[in-house]
């Protein structure tokens, strides 16, 4: 019975997850390393990877700052009345319920050329939709809950006694944050950062809708994979997908290492 269950579990995971992933690697190197490399260094692929990186950096930085600040206000702030807190909490979770395609549509409705805001910016020569700003906003929306959801439980867990003590002893808000709060939430923030990087690098649906998928202009690595696959250029698609897959695995291992570190940390106490 035991052996049978283990074999079934392995079989499911192998067929559904491992085998398809191996398929990508095989597909990428089907015609050798030359075409693989050529697919990666073609100008549109380089531009797509650059754009993905740019979005990851902007979104991660913004999410880190806003996420930590929002968590602090949510847990420590007394100004958000008790009645409003559940509303804010629910608001934070909302992006999880929104389909990526709908997230993209939202940005188009809000900032598209037909909208009030979009028309204003377009009049001043700045495009939001079908350009990088819209893609950043869409990714911000999708990844918004990740950081807050990591930091809030940590803040609740450590309590505010040390912070109170620090303030009583005359330390300012900044000093208290950096010397008392930060050391205990540091790893939660790092974990949230890595989750945000993974999610923003991999975001596809909303980007496809918002970007208009303009070749060499608004294509990211994930939408390039889609475009190549649509054109049945499987070697090119698999080459970029292989790089994305390797990065995903690296991120996954990183997260697992941090999780183990956290558990060891908790056992030590």
């Amino acid at each position: 019975m035991k052996r049978l269950l283990i074999v079934i579990a392995f079989l499911i995971v192998f067929l559904l997850i491992a085998l398809p992933f191996i398929g990508i690697a095989v597909g990428a190197f089907e015609q050798g390393a030359g075409p693989f490399w050529k697919a990666l260094v073609r100008p549109e692929a380089l531009h797509a990877m650059y754009l993905s990186l740019l979005i990851v950096v902007i979104v991660t930085a913004l999410n880190a700052i806003v996420g930590v600040y929002l968590s602090l206000e949510l847990v420590r702030g007394t100004w958000i009345a008790r009645r409003i807190k559940p509303v804010v909490n629910a608001l934070i979770d909302l992006p999880f319920a929104v389909s990526p395609v709908i997230a993209g549509l939202m940005i188009i409705l809000l900032f598209g050329p037909d909208s009030l805001v979009g028309a204003f910016f377009e009049g001043h020569g700045a495009k939001i939709v079908y350009a990088v700003p819209g893609m950043v906003i869409a990714t911000l929306f999708i990844t918004f809950p990740l950081m807050v959801r990591e930091v809030v439980p940590l803040l609740q867990e450590i309590g505010e006694q040390s912070e109170e003590a620090s303030k009583t002893l005359g330390a300012g808000a900044w000093r208290t944050f950096f010397q008392i709060t930060w050391p205990s939430i540091r790893w939660g923030v790092v974990y949230g950062l890595v989750l945000t990087i993974a999610r923003s690098l991999g975001e596809f649906g909303s980007i496809l809708v918002v970007s208009g998928n303009i070749l060499g202009k608004t294509q990211t690595a994930t939408t390039l994979v889609y475009e190549d696959a649509e054109n049945f250029d499987l070697v090119a698609a698999n080459s970029v997908a292989f790089v994305l897959g390797v990065i995903s695995i690296a991120i996954l291992l990183c997260l697992e290492w941090m999780k183990k570190r956290k558990e060891a940390h908790m056992h030590a106490h």
């Binding site: 559904l16 997850i17 398929g23 389909s99 939202m106 598209g112 439980p153 994930t222 698609a237």
Partner: protein, 273 residues
């Protein structure tokens, strides 16, 4: 001193206002916009949009295939969680890591994976073709894609509950002469049902919303293999924001109900997923 306190108060309220504005602008406003746009022409056009034959069929298809995926996930997720918690064997860590891979992989890469693996140019796809099994461009393909992207949910919600359940309770049941099936149904299952339910609902809501992993492999035949998210995408490509928004309002409402149900179910038990 007073000036300093006043200045710091002003600074605080300014930064807090900014925070609330950010939250409203980034999260609340976009969601409200979808509903406003969907109903912008009134009830009748909204109803016409969603009751159009293709639109309505895509809603039904999405719900149907999401239910199928959720049932599959509830079974195999529970099985894998059980194996991961109860047994120790070589490759357990590898199995556990692989379970998380679908969350880390971009969805367009997931779609491409199955396109490559099941397509005619791969040995497996070729073989399946010869024995007459068609796994691409039909509803089976959609279920495969959905099962892939929702894979970790049930495993990861059942696992902690199984860990809390003392193995000695199962031992006691065996000692008292109960069989494996009886023990699982009466000792293990009651303890992990909340996890299975919560994980299944998370998987269901993800399946409803999924786009990337499906659009490459579903064939997107209107009325046959076109799910709501793909339909909405098509509407945005054809510059029909009203139609897209009307369908989005329906899908969004469904997702919000599921999210609300999950929150109600897991309230007080900490965070899941």
């Amino acid at each position: 001193m007073v000036v300093k306190i006043l200045a710091s108060q002003a600074y605080k309220s300014a930064s807090r206002s900014l925070l609330v504005a950010y939250l409203l602008l980034l999260v609340a406003w976009p969601i409200v916009t979808v509903y406003v746009k969907g109903f912008s022409l009134g009830w009748k056009p909204f109803w016409d949009e969603i009751s159009g034959p293709i639109a309505w069929k895509s809603i039904l298809l999405t719900v149907k295939l999401s239910v199928v995926t959720t049932i599959i996930q509830a079974v195999i997720g529970t099985l894998i969680a059980y194996v991961l918690v109860r047994y120790s064997f070589r490759g357990r860590m590898l199995l556990s890591s692989l379970v998380d891979l679908p969350f880390a992989l971009p969805t367009s890469v997931a779609g491409l994976m199955f396109l490559t693996l099941l397509g005619p140019s791969s040995p497996l796809g070729d073989w399946l073709n010869r024995i007459g099994v068609q796994l691409l461009y039909n509803q089976t393909a959609i279920v495969i894609g959905l099962t892939f992207v929702t894979f970790p949910f049930v495993v990861r919600t059942v696992q902690p509950l199984l860990e809390q359940l003392d193995a000695s309770e199962e031992q006691a049941s065996y000692t008292l002469g109960a069989g494996r099936g009886y023990t699982f149904r009466h000792v293990v299952l009651p303890a992990i049902v909340p996890g299975i339910l919560a994980g299944s609902m998370l998987a269901f809501s993800r399946a409803l919303a999924e786009f990337g992993a499906i659009s490459l492999i579903s064939g997107n035949l209107p009325g046959k293999t076109m799910v709501v998210s793909v339909f909405i995408y098509g509407e945005t490509q054809n510059f029909r924001p009203e139609g897209a928004a009307a369908l989005s309002a329906v899908l969004l409402t469904l997702s919000l109900i599921v999210l609300w149900a999950i929150n109600t179910l897991t309230r007080g038990k900490g965070r899941l997923g």
